[in-house]
Amino acid sequence: MEKQELIPHLFRTEFRKITAVLCKLFGMEHIEIAEDIASDTFLSALETWTYKGLPENPVAWLYTVAKNKAASYLKRDALFSKKITKQLIYSSPKEQIEIDLSEKNIQDSQLQMMFAICHPSITTEAQVGLSLRILCGFGIDEIATAFLTNKETINKRLFRAKEKLRAKKVQIAFPCETEIDERLESVLTTLYLLFSEGYYSESRDIILREDLCLEAMRLTYLLIENEQTDQPNVNALLSLMCFHASRFEARKAENGALILYYDQDETRWNKELISKGMFFLNKASQGNKISKYHLEAGIAYWHTIKADTKEKWEAVLQLFNQLLQIEYSPIAALNRTYALSKANGKTEAIAEAEKLQLTGNQYYYALLGELYRGIDNNKAKMNFEKALLLARTMADKLIIQKQIDMF
């Protein structure tokens, strides 16, 4: 790998590890110091490697420099020494503070950080932002692009979130056994949002969006690798992510736009990811609790089969029926009604759709338009026109306009 590619690559894979280990060592109160030392390490790499060439083992080089920087920081900063070395988790003498960058400690620290960041005391939006920064090593500008906002907003959001974690004295530790299910639930919500942010974001930066999804999958896999968190709902979530991610290539058009599901060439769906999805779904079916991730993974599984069979739509309908009982969302209600039209016929689906009354939602009118097509084309067109008025993005407007033009 060329040097100009290597540093960003290492930044992505190693920044988060160094930050997690140092933060675990210093405590959540000093998260910024951990981030600063990690950033500083990469700055040194950039300077040194440019003049002296690449070291033999760049990762080991980074770890050594990070350790030295952390150690000298601890020694130099009198205030820091007074305030923190007393509280250091490692109680060794000041001169010999052990900074453990072994694979085991990195993994443990990252897992513990994940639980700390996904603490219920901060908003889920802040959890997603902090996860991207601390657990995934994303730059502030990348996070801003992903959220379609500016760097200032993200900086403020992350700052407030860190303040909150400090104020609540959130520990960087594995939750105790009685708490783990509840805390894990909150971690999964964040990972699910992180993935969705990448999958459904309106940002045009496709590479960044896929990175978001892959990071969410990596973090979910981190949970699966740990015995205590290798739970059925975690496997169900990863299964769901694999099924969706299998369509990454097929949904990319040459001009950077997205190809919709029905227009995709299914030979470009990633078979390996589909079979991984099935593997994790099987693992998820051990145990007797059905989470929303199980149901969504089930729905996503059926979408890896494109053929319109009665069996498929009946299964999808029943999964949506169950999902809505666990957790209502307008999009699930609309998708359920579409599945109903495929399984039970349009007449029944129209009656059910009219009851939803999601009048502020463009997809509601797009659904009604779709259901009325061939039954009452005037009503179908009228509904698509209402959808057009509500559509916000250019891409959505184009898709709806195409439907209107068909009448």
Binding site: Q318, F320, N321, L324, Y328, A333, R336, L340, L356
Partner: protein, 117 residues
């Protein structure tokens, strides 16, 4: 928004239906509940199987099952959110249990703390 319980009453719980018929009712019930949940009006519910059913009577006399001299049995219930009893009744009208002559759905408001009237 109030909560109402919809209780399914079967006239004769001993009547046996074929597995195919049971499957049709099951789908209809799931679709009916799914339709209520799609309107964000579903709060909870359960089927009440006859296995392990007991009736405890005066003087702690325990009998198996809710059958015998009781003509009606309760097959299940759901709890819905509704603005008025009329809205809850509209939900009840779609209940597949009502396809059986003599069956009924009882609609009752759930008393909640101070709101109980």
């Amino acid at each position: 928004m109030e909560e109402f319980i919809l209780i399914f009453r079967h006239e004769d719980g001993q009547k046996l239906a074929s597995p195919e018929q049971m499957q049709i009712w099951m789908k209809q019930t799931m679709d009916w509940i799914g339709g209520i949940a799609a309107q964000n009006k579903f709060s909870g519910g359960n089927g009440l199987p006859f296995d392990d059913a007991r009736v405890v009577r005066h003087n702690n006399v325990v009998t198996n099952g809710p059958f015998g001299e009781i003509k009606e049995t309760i097959g299940g219930y759901i709890i819905v959110k509704a603005g008025s009893v009329e809205e809850a009744v509209e939900f009840a009208k779609g209940c597949p249990v009502l396809q059986g002559e003599g069956n009924s759905v009882e609609v009752r408001k759930i008393a909640k703390g101070d709101h109980a009237k």
